[in-house]
């Protein structure tokens, strides 16, 4: 297992390399030169040139890339000109909030999705199956930002059960119950689409597994149906569910952008949108690379979990 984890970690290196290249190339497409963008159109040519040299922008593209990546590796993501502070500091300040939101949403969608899928498959064509199928179709079709807005209208404005936005109350908040009250709506709104996708997949994976011979064996030896479904069948179905969990984690992580906007959640997503609107290129670049790298890391965890769950995978 240790060797497999190491192998998987090593295989992430070219992926990370590819990601930085792609982000770098995308950012290099920006029309006009960044120095003018930073200094504004009234800047003197001398100032523009000085800044270009300072940023290394007068060098060939590939040299710029290696300078950039060298800095990244030393933890230097550059400086956000709009916020006038190091990019990495800003990202780290914000990332915790995103992690809490996306993490909660991910746990929600995994649990609810698998639960719904298994129940749906076990009661195929029954009332529960039809109800779940309908809710799932609705769930994967509704834009998360619209759902979030409607939830605010209902639960915050009409019923006044939950706070409408933010992560903590401005006065007297800051403890865990306060955070949870703020977290409920955004986490749920963020999880809905992924829940639907996971539920659908779990249902078909379960149907596929339930037809297999070893399920008949389990039944033939007198294993209780509950255990056949939630033990034997689900255990096997997880082999095809887990990779999808990995993919959905990516959707949840990046879908947080919308939810953070709707609920004024102080995370990386909102930071990115603000940075794009302010054309704060280094902040966008750093933020995208950082989140993508986290996602690559998460996928390694997913693969290791898969190998641990399925002994047939050569570790």
């Amino acid at each position: 297992m240790g060797a497999y984890i190491l192998k998987r970690l090593l295989s992430a290196i070219p992926v990370l390399f590819g990601i930085t290249v792609i982000v770098f190339l995308i950012m290099a497409m920006i029309p006009g030169d960044p120095a003018t963008a930073i200094l504004g159109s009234y800047a003197t040519p001398e100032n523009v040139e000085r800044l270009n040299r300072h940023l290394g922008l007068d060098r060939p593209l590939w040299q710029q890339y290696f300078i950039w990546i060298g800095n990244l590796l030393q933890g230097d993501f550059g400086r956000s000109f709009a916020l006038n502070r190091p990019v990495l500091d800003e990202i780290l300040d914000r990332f915790g909030a995103t992690l809490i939101l996306a993490g909660t949403a991910f746990v929600l969608c995994a649990l609810l999705g698998i639960l719904a899928g298994v129940v749906s498959a076990a009661r195929q064509y029954g009332l529960a199956d039809k109800a779940i199928t309908f809710v799932v179709i609705l769930g994967i079709s509704i834009p998360s930002f619209f759902l979030g807005m409607m939830m605010i209208l209902l639960f915050a404005v009409q019923l006044r059960w939950l706070p409408a936005s933010g992560m903590y109350s401005i006065w007297g908040g800051g403890d865990l119950p306060d955070l949870l009250r703020h977290l409920v709506m955004p986490a749920f709104a963020l999880s809905v689409v992924a829940t639907g996708v996971i539920a659908r997949l779990s249902r078909s994976a379960m149907l596929e597994v339930l037809r297999q011979d070893f399920i008949r064996t389990a039944r033939a030896k007198g294993v209780h149906e509950r255990r056949v479904i939630w033990g034997h069948a689900l255990r096997m179905a997880m082999v095809s569910i887990i990779p999808v969990l990995g993919i959905q984690a990516g959707f949840v992580l990046s879908g947080a952008v919308y939810i953070e906007m709707v609920f004024q959640w102080p995370g990386v997503g909102r930071m990115l949108v603000d940075a794009i609107l302010k054309r704060d290129i280094l902040l966008v670049q750093g933020g995208v690379v950082f989140v993508a790298a986290c996602y690559v890391g998460f996928n390694i965890i997913v693969d290791v979990a898969q190998a641990w769950l399925d002994p047939r995978i050569k570790t």
Binding site: M149, M150, F214, A220, E225, G250, Y258
Partner: protein
């Protein structure tokens, strides 16, 4: 095409999706000719009018613009953008996929590596990065959404192209001197276009959702032009005071995406033959029962009596009579062989005993299965479960697929015990190891920690036998337990079964298609053909003097060492389909002795001493054959 549409609309949800989507598209197309207010005409006096206000059916927004007009124009824009993004992503992705798949080798490797890199990004993040570089704007949002979807198309189309590129007609085209471009355009492309179109139609929903999302964030369409996403984005600040301005565009996005999803699902289902035949149904915990009458219980019940059992498969309107009135009896400690070709209904008979026939489509439609006088057909699930594996245990054919691939064999054995005896895990594990020793698995303690794929075929079948023995059952039903094994292992397994039977006095119902195996193990044998017993009797007698022509031919199929003189004769023809059984004897079409009487009507199974026979032209007593 007609059949496809019929299938599609039989799915009511898909039909609903098609109608809603059709209506929305038509509305969007005729918008310029509808008597609407200009979508961008601001009338500050009319801010936030409620829906239903005369002249403004859906009210007005924060600038007093007519919501209905803006909604229709916005829908038009959103649909167009989503469609354009799908076409761009589809065309570019397909081009990449076709080239990578067709040329293979280095081209394929490099391209697909790049595609993998793009897929390593969380999706929306990549779109954000592209918009960040190009700057906010609807065209740029469209490009971003198209680009992030290209890998999806490239990967799918590549897979299909690889399959096509290796086909003979491509080789033929190449040999005839066609250039790569021509082959790609005239031979490959026509074959992948349907896939591209389907992939596009199923992804267009995402594309609309994603561009709406970017517009919602203010990164897509810029005011005053508005698509549905930016309408929603602009309305957000007034969400609490004038919720209708948010609800109107939001519901429209929901309707569009949902109808596309419903339609897409319908299309996929209509095209997937597996779903069409209803094969993707899961078997219930016990076979369904629909008996019109229940046979009377005899005064002196035996161990196991299968009494006029009828099991059918109901697939659509078709009825397959897999078992058509089979009666068998098993005494304690006896081994009864049930023999027949594949499809004769012998396995279904065996599985019917404990309600293990996959259902749907299986239904037990008649007869009874009595264990010590009590009927199992239609028994409550809990009673059936408590008997399964405890009183009646099964051994199945292919131990690789019948053991759970992800559980250790020791755990699977222990589970069999724990399902019936609350003796605690440690004790169950100990007994599991003991069982493995009983079936002669060397180093049982270590083997208990193995997974099935780590064992050989013979070992796996020993594990399956150990599992059947776990609760010391009265009856073991062995469904072709040696068929998947090679001959030497087969002999070992048979010897093991024989020893266990004599040591433990357990009755065995042994199902096989091989008379050689029956001769080695069984006291009695029943021959099955097309769902019915055609002959039954003590093994020796039946082997030496088969009375039914079918039995005779079946025995003639077994090669025997040292008897080279015998003619090894396959039976001509095939067994009849059990959804169209002929009148009279089912074997008549393949039987050289068949007469009109054979095809005329029901032929009864008649007893002659210890033997039973269903034939009006029995074979004569054996005469020494000569070649």
């Amino acid at each position: 095409m007609g059949a496809f549409l019929k299938l599609l609309f039989r799915n009511r949800l898909a039909g609903f999706g098609a109608v809603v989507l059709g209506a929305i598209i038509v509305l969007a197309l005729i918008t310029p000719w509808l008597p609407l207010h200009p979508p961008n005409a601001t009338v500050t006096a009319n801010r936030f009018l409620l829906p239903g206000t005369p002249g403004h059916l859906l009210g007005t927004d924060h600038l007093g613009r007519d919501q209905l007009s803006r909604l229709l124009w916005g829908t038009r824009l959103s649909l167009a953008v989503g469609f354009a993004a799908a076409v761009i992503a589809g065309v570019v992705g397909a081009a990449i996929g076709i080239i990578a798949g067709y040329f293979g080798g280095r081209t394929d490797n490099v391209t697909m590596r790049g595609v993998d890199m793009l897929m390593a990004f969380p999706y929306i993040l990549l779109a954000l990065a592209i918009v960040a570089a190009l700057g906010p704007g609807l065209m740029n949002a469209l490009i971003a959404v198209a680009v992030v979807n290209i890998p999806f198309f490239a990967r799918n189309i590549r897979g299909i192209t690889v399959g096509i590129a290796n086909k003979e007609f491509i080789d033929a085209a190449r040999l005839s001197g066609m250039g790569h471009t021509r082959i790609l355009l005239t031979e490959v492309l026509p074959n992948v276009i349907p896939v591209i179109v389907i992939a596009m139609s199923t992804t267009i929903g995402w594309m609309i959702l994603e561009t709406a999302g970017l517009s919602f964030l203010g990164l897509g369409s810029q005011p005053p032009q508005a698509d549905l996403g930016s309408m929603l984005g602009e309305a957000r600040s007034a969400m609490i005071t004038a919720p209708h301005t948010s609800i109107v565009p939001g519901v429209m996005i929901l309707l569009i995406v949902m109808s596309i999803n419903l339609l897409g699902d319908g299309v996929r289902d209509a095209l997937d033959p597996r779903l069409r035949s209803g094969a993707l149904t899961r078997p219930l915990p016990a076979t369904q029962v629909a008996r019109k009458s229940v046979p009377e219980v005899p005064a002196k019940p035996g161990l196991l009596e299968i009494d006029a059992l009828e099991t059918q498969f109901h697939v659509g309107k078709r009825v397959y009579r897999a078992v058509g009135g089979v009666s068998l009896e098993l005494k304690p400690g006896e081994c009864l062989g049930l023999i027949g070709e594949s499809g004769s209904g012998k396995s279904v008979t065996a599985l019917s005993v404990m309600g293990l026939v996959a259902s749907p489509p299986g239904v037990i439609t008649g007869g009874a299965v009595r264990l010590e006088g009590r009927d199992l057909v239609g028994a409550k699930y809990e009673r059936l479960r408590s008997l399964r594996g405890d009183k009646v245990a099964y051994i199945f054919q292919d131990p690789l697929s019948t053991l759970h691939p992800l559980y250790r064999v020791g755990d699977q054995l222990a589970e069999a015990i724990l399902s019936h005896h609350g003796i605690g895990r440690a004790a169950a594990m100990e007994r599991a190891v003991k069982l493995l020793e009983d079936v002669r698995i060397p180093n049982a303690k270590a083997r208990a920690r193995s997974f099935p794929h780590e064992l050989s075929g013979g070992m796996r079948q020993r594990v399956a036998i150990a599992m059947a023995l776990a609760n010391e059952p009265d009856i073991i039903i062995a469904d072709e337990p040696t068929t998947a094994l090679d001959v030497t292992v087969q002999a070992q397994i048979l010897a093991l079964l024989d020893r266990l039977r004599r040591e433990r006095d357990v009755a065995i119902l042994f199902i096989t298609h091989d008379f050689g195996v029956v001769g080695q193990l069984c006291d009695r044998v029943a021959v099955m053909y097309a769902g019915r017993i055609v002959e039954q009797g003590p093994t020796r007698e039946v082997l030496e003097a088969p009375a039914h022509p079918y039995t005779k031919r079946l025995i003639a199929c077994v090669p025997e060492l040292g008897e080279g003189r015998r003619v090894l004769a396959a039976i001509p023809g095939l067994p009849p389909a059990v959804d169209a059984l002929p009148e009279g004897c089912a074997f008549a079409p393949r039987c050289e002795k068949a007469t009109d009487a054979c095809r005329a009507g029901e032929i009864a199974l008649e007893s002659h001493g210890g033997r039973k026979l269903r034939c009006i032209h029995p074979e004569p007593a054996p005469v020494e054959e000569s070649a």
